[in-house]
């Protein structure tokens, strides 16, 4: 899929909820990866001084992340695999945030181990997986397809496993413990061949350990002898050679063990579910062969665990995931880390030789560093501000409340924000974005057109602009629901309240529009899903609640309707189905199990859209431009927006067309997991198309100036001269033909004060009926597209490297400086997305000085020096040009910039396998170049592009 959409993220001041369920540190100790209950994966940067900054958040899973593991030889490719509760698996590049591969299998994994045996295996290696299914699955690390499985004589779920690699035994084996407590051993290296030939491989050893609920098994790589087995109430050390019990210890009351690891020979660390850990020394190395578990008395005397150190956390937490990173090489630390369900990370630096105090009592190791996402957000205020915080000047003194619901109306370019205090703020989306991103600008501050409508007395929970979904609704209607079960139907322009419905059914969770082929009687009606699991049908025309289905015991998952019987089919979360007769409002049937499935299947085509995904919308906009209709029913990103936001997918084609006129989309994202962010999506290809077409139709004069300019520079290239001259002539003649009139038009468009545009646009919209709107849209678009393009370029340009260049951009191109760093989004495919988090820019500060806040990498500095040279020349040229010409040139340069961006993004997509493009394309190229052996192919392709950009500039 070609994807030229650029995404910029506007975070709110609240960090997304991130209840950590899985955690790992990459082998280079630079990246921390955390998976969450909400389904997102967070990437953090760990500096050499053990400072942690958040880098990016990866969207893609629609259910809780259950496990994380490396997916390749990390030095070659920084890939990490993640498994989710619903069987999704993703391989991510943790340096760039790309989703490399994803798949959905019917298996829920609890642990994944990467295994590669270079001399026996072809391909990228195996992912050995265990979880809520029988035995161990072997998944290909590259394709994520199930290759085979390790079978067992008495199959059961495997609760934990580890790979035993020992030079002494000369055989890699997999040690696993089943749910029933059987320890099983499979040969790994010697069974590679038989696995590849799809033969059944059974375990070589099996032994019952007499306990249940095992959570971890570890092999001591120092002695290559000891096996540590941890279950929730005790831990045991076995001799790996004969499986004799050497040592055991039970946990204190009210604590449960969660895992452990060997620190060194005879020294181990055990941690508990509530985030405590204990370091033990196994005294008197109990390895002497004479001892066996039968002679219990003797055993106890010789091998006793002695507590050396302990760590603890202050706050009591629901549950923790902890792990230990043991690196023997010098620059690396021994790190004990944990993440808990409130999203807090804790790090401990474990000393190389932990010792107890002189009197033998254990030492408490202090927490080295601790952080949450919210702290990162608070620290980087400029990247995490509310979207409408800028609407009021400080002098007004009115602080707007937190946004609890927001909605973007593409056809009006309006952003509607529902606030915590019940107010609804309506503003222009692009302006809000500009005000939020760009540095103080006299034209922008304080004078943004916005309206505040009251009406609700508690926080607004849902918003609906019904016209976007079906044209039978008036384009001026806006419907909002609040926490107190009231629904207000009002005019979006004037704020006049037509009617207020009061339902007494808890908070209004969703407002939905029924499908267009609904019967006439229910002409203008909307559905609302309430927090008491009820569904109400409101008739707007007659201003009454038509019927209210209140019987549901579980939250409503799907809404469908039966076309023949006029029935509403409600699917609940417990997989039961309720069929309501719309006419009478009676419950016709209640079914569970197979029958419920069959009913839902029967009404498959008559779904009332309840789900939505971010990228789906971008996909949608793309689809419109290409007019190819793909039947992608992937609402996978759902978790983020799962069931809660209404579908952006318009059921109506006429509305779609107004969509396609919008190369810029403003996407509010909100979900039950309290993520509130806004995505700015720029469709580069479309921006370019629109600008060019406007240039071709109304702005011929711009062409003429361009060629006029080209004539001057053409001197150097004598061969091209005649050609350019010729073009100049034709352009010149055109200029004479329609020059004077169009010149005025263009000038007006370009120089029109910014805040006026909004006013005029609104004015126009007011008057416009449906018919002339489409005619006018062309002209309106030029302004909008220009502004959008400029905003995008503002985000991408390397500010602060060259003062003159900055000035040039601000003065002549009208591209304004940024207020702070921008967080970009990176779209891997339809439902995999990487969003940078506040604080990402500090990551590079290790290497690059702190003199610019929009530095992507060193490469940018190199580029910018070249670039500034070009700009210098251009500037000289500009001096000679008159004022209005420079305005023309502005548009030209803008176009040129965009063209190059598009070009780079496309090439990147082609070359870098699944590499997509974001604002930080240069960074990506660099990182790729470092990693790939075939980098020559990259480096060769890269300079032409940059030089192309530069030459392109030169030619002006």
């Amino acid at each position: 899929m070609k994807n030229t959409t650029q995404a910029v993220v506007l975070w709110g001041n609240r960090a997304p909820a991130h209840s950590i369920t899985a955690m790992m540190i990459t082998e280079d100790q630079k990246t921390i990866v955390t998976g969450s209950l909400e389904g997102q994966i967070c990437l953090w940067h760990l500096s050499m001084e053990m400072k942690i900054t958040s880098k990016a958040i990866l969207f893609g899973h629609t259910a809780a992340v259950t496990c994380l593991a490396k997916a390749r030889d990390f030095e070659k490719q920084p890939y990490v695999v993640s498994g989710a509760e619903n069987g999704e698996m993703c391989v991510w590049n943790v340096n760039t945030g790309h989703c490399i591969q994803n798949v959905k299998l019917p298996y829920r994994h609890t642990a994944i181990c990467y295994y590669h045996c270079s001399f026996r295996m072809t391909g990228e290696g195996w992912l050995l997986c265990c979880g809520h299914y029988q035995d161990v699955l072997i998944v290909d690390a590259k394709t994520l397809q199930v290759l085979h499985s390790f079978k067992s004589q008495s199959s059961d779920w495997i609760s934990c496993m580890c790979i035993v690699h020992s030079t002494r035994i000369q055989e890699d084996s997999l040690v696993a413990i089943s749910a029933a407590g059987d320890l099983k051993v499979w040969d790994l290296s010697s069974s590679v061949n038989s696995i590849q030939e799809k033969q059944i491989v059974y375990e070589t050893e099996s032994q019952n350990l007499e306990m249940a609920n095992y959570c971890s098994v570890r092999f001591c790589t120092y002695t290559e002898r000891l096996l540590l087995v941890i279950c929730s109430t005790s831990w045991k050390v076995y001799d790996y050679c004969d499986f004799s019990l050497l040592c055991t210890d039970v946990c204190k009351d009210s604590q449960r063990f969660a895992g452990g690891e060997f620190l060194a020979a005879n020294r181990l660390i055990i941690w508990t579910q509530d985030g405590h850990s204990y370091i033990y020394q196994l005294l008197n190395s109990g390895l002497s062969k004479s001892l066996c578990p039968g002679e219990g008395g003797l055993l106890k005397e010789t091998i006793t665990p002695h507590l050396l150190c302990s760590t603890s956390v202050m706050e009591k937490s629901f549950s923790c995931t902890m792990a230990f990173m043991n690196q023997r090489k010098e620059p690396f630390y021994k790190i004990l880390y944990s993440g808990n369900s409130s999203g807090r990370l804790h790090f401990w630096h474990v000393p190389d030789v932990p010792v107890s105090q002189f009197d033998g009592s254990p030492v408490e190791i202090p927490v080295k560093v601790t952080i949450t996402l919210q702290e990162m957000f608070d620290r980087h205020k400029s990247m995490s501000e509310g979207i409408i915080d800028h609407l009021c000047t400080p002098s007004e003194g009115v602080k707007l409340a937190t946004v609890t619901a927001s909605l973007y109306i593409p056809s009006l370019d309006k952003l509607v924000c529902g606030c915590e205090d019940g107010n609804i703020v309506i503003t222009f989306a692009l302006h809000a974005a500009r005000a939020r991103l760009l540095r103080d600008h006299p034209l922008l501050r304080g004078s943004l057109p916005h309206k505040i409508f009251g009406g609700h007395d508690c926080s607004v929970t849902s918003l609906l602009y019904p016209h976007a979904r079906s044209e039978k609704f008036d384009p001026s209607w806006l419907i909002s629901g609040d926490q107190n079960s009231s629904i207000i139907w009002r005019d979006v322009f004037t704020g006049e309240i037509f009617h207020k419905f009061i339902l007494q059914a808890g908070a209004i969770l969703k407002l939905l529009v029924p499908p267009t082929d609904y019967k006439v009687k229910l002409f203008q009606s909307i559905y609302c899903v309430c927090s008491d699991n009820s569904v109400a049908l409101l008739n707007l025309q007659e201003r009454l609640c038509f019927f209210h289905a209140r019987k549901h015991l579980f939250p409503v998952k799907t809404l469908r309707w039966h076309p023949v019987e006029e029935a509403l089919v409600v699917g609940c979360e417990d997989d039961s189905v309720y069929v309501w007769e719309i006419e009478t409002g009676t419950l016709e049937r209640h079914e569970t199990g197979d029958m419920a499935k069959a009913i839902l299947m029967a009404c498959e085509d008559f779904t009332i859209e309840t789900t939505d995904s971010i990228v789906n919308t971008s996909h949608e906009t793309q689809r419109n431009t290409r007019t190819t209709f793909k039947s992608s029913n992937s609402y996978k990103l759902g978790n983020l927006s799962h069931n809660l936001i209404h579908s952006e997918k318009s059921s109506n084609k006429i509305v779609d067309s107004s969509y396609s006129l919008n190369p810029f989309t403003f996407l509010p994202v909100r979900s039950k997991y309290n993520i509130s962010l806004h995505l700015l999506l720029f469709d580069l290809e479309q921006v370019l198309e629109l600008l060019q077409s406007s240039q071709a139709s109304g702005l011929k004069s711009a062409n003429s100036f361009h060629s006029y300019d080209a004539l001057k520079t053409a001197k150097s290239s004598s061969e091209k001269r005649p050609l350019t001259l010729k073009r100049n002539k034709t352009a010149g003649s055109l200029y004479q033909m329609d020059g004077p009139t169009s010149d005025i038009v263009v000038k007006e468009i370009i120089t029109r004060p910014l805040e006026e545009i909004g006013g005029i646009k609104r004015h126009k919209k007011f008057k416009s009926t449906k018919k002339n709107k489409t005619q006018m849209s062309g002209k309106i678009d030029v302004n909008m597209v220009m502004d959008a393009a400029k905003l995008l370029l503002s985000c991408l340009l390397p500010w602060g490297i060259d003062k003159e260049l900055d000035n040039f951009c601000v003065k002549h191109l009208d591209i304004l400086k940024l207020q702070g760093s921008v967080t970009f989004g990176l779209i891997s495919d339809v439902d995999h997305l990487c969003l940078m988090l506040p604080g990402w820019n500090q990551v590079s500060n290790d290497t690059v000085g702190n003199f610019s806040h929009n530095l992507l990498s060193k490469k940018v500095i190199e580029l910018s020096t070249k670039y500034s040279l070009v700009a210098q020349k251009q500037k000289n040229k500009n001096d000679q040009l008159e004022n209005h010409i420079s305005a023309m040139l502005g548009l030209e340069t803008l176009l040129h910039f965009l063209k190059k961006l598009l070009c780079v993004s496309k090439t990147l997509r082609m070359d870098g396998s699944k590499c997509t493009q974001s604002g930080s394309s240069f960074e990506k190229i660099e990182s790729l170049r470092g990693k790939w052996k075939s980098s020559e192919h990259f480096t060769s392709s890269f300079p032409p592009f940059t030089t192309d950009v530069l030459h392109g500039k030169l030619s002006k």
Binding site: H132, Q134, S232, S254, D421, S531, K672
Partner: protein, 287 residues
């Protein structure tokens, strides 16, 4: 707005007290209740978990059907394993009675039962981790715990209510035929599965299709039950299902377990509802 705020300040205090009570007392009593129900459910699976009292008891079931008397059988179920099975198949063509039984040394694991049992044990494990002395700080903690428990319970229930769909070659290679002695004839396929509270046995009688047969060969897809006429290919030999016999027996404790699952799911949802009611009164951030 102002009046609403003033009126609610006193109300808020009361509500806050109530919410504290909910977290401190009510949640634990519900959790205790849940644990009891689920332990009862888990006991139905009669699995010796850890300290429980040793061997699982064996139960005999007679397979039958109202529509056909061509297949008869007796099964012995021990927890999640079929340890004995005797099947009598009357071939209508020859009116010859085929008899086959499990080999003495072999046992057949009913994966559905095993999975359901493991899911329940997971749910119990989640609950026991938050014992009496655990203090819930926020409502979201409870909601998360309930979500996790409900996920396990839903899976346990679905595992029993929705048998796996299999293709005929998968049935043929499942290894079930190897369990019997004497081995059933090559034109007979067998499949055991659980459907809600019933343990079912499917017997397919096949006839081989001639390689040059004019019949339009179309392999059938995945299904729980394949109807006569379904075709498949195995080891370059094409087969068609000529007869299907389904016999079943009701396992009472599976029914009990399913009832327990449903009751505990409702309890969980009720607790969730109780917690989320308070979100309407002030912004307590459920997540």
């Amino acid at each position: 707005m102002a009046t609403a705020a003033a009126a609610s300040s006193a109300e808020r205090g009361v509500l806050e007290e109530e919410f504290k009570w909910l977290l401190k007392e009510e949640v634990h009593s519900v959790l205790k209740q849940l644990q009891d129900i689920l332990k009862e459910a888990s006991r139905r699976f009669t699995i010796p978990t850890g300290t429980a009292d040793g061997a699982t008891k064996q139960e005999n079931f007679v397979l039958g059907s109202s529509s056909t008397d061509q297949v008869k059988g007796v099964l012995t179920l021990q927890g999640d394993t079929l340890c004995q099975a005797e099947v009598n198949l009357k071939v209508s063509r020859t009116s010859q009675v085929l008899h086959f039984a499990f080999r003495e040394d072999k046992q057949w694991k009913m994966q559905q039962i095993q999975d359901a049992r493991n899911h329940v044990n997971q749910a119990i494990y989640l609950l026991t981790n938050r014992g009496e002395n655990y203090n819930f700080q926020t409502g979201s903690e409870v909601l998360k715990l309930m979500d996790a428990v409900m996920l396990q319970l839903t899976r346990a229930r679905n595992r029993l209510t929705t048998p796996a769909t299999m293709t005929l070659p998968e049935v043929a290679t499942s290894g079930l035929t190897k369990m019997f002695s004497p081995a059933p004839p090559s034109d007979v396929l067998l499949n055991f599965y659980v459907n809600v509270n019933k343990l079912c046995l499917l017997v397919y009688q096949l006839h081989a299709l001639q390689p040059n047969s004019t019949k339009n060969f179309r392999p059938s897809g995945s299904s729980v039950l394949h109807n006569p006429g379904a075709m498949f290919e195995l080891n370059n030999q094409r087969f068609e299902v000529s007869h299907v016999h389904k016999v079943e027996c009701i396992v009472p404790w599976l029914n009990d377990a399913l009832v327990f699952f449903t009751v505990s799911l409702q309890l969980c949802q009720q607790l969730k509802d109780k917690i989320s009611i308070f979100s309407s009164y002030w912004n307590f951030r459920p997540y």
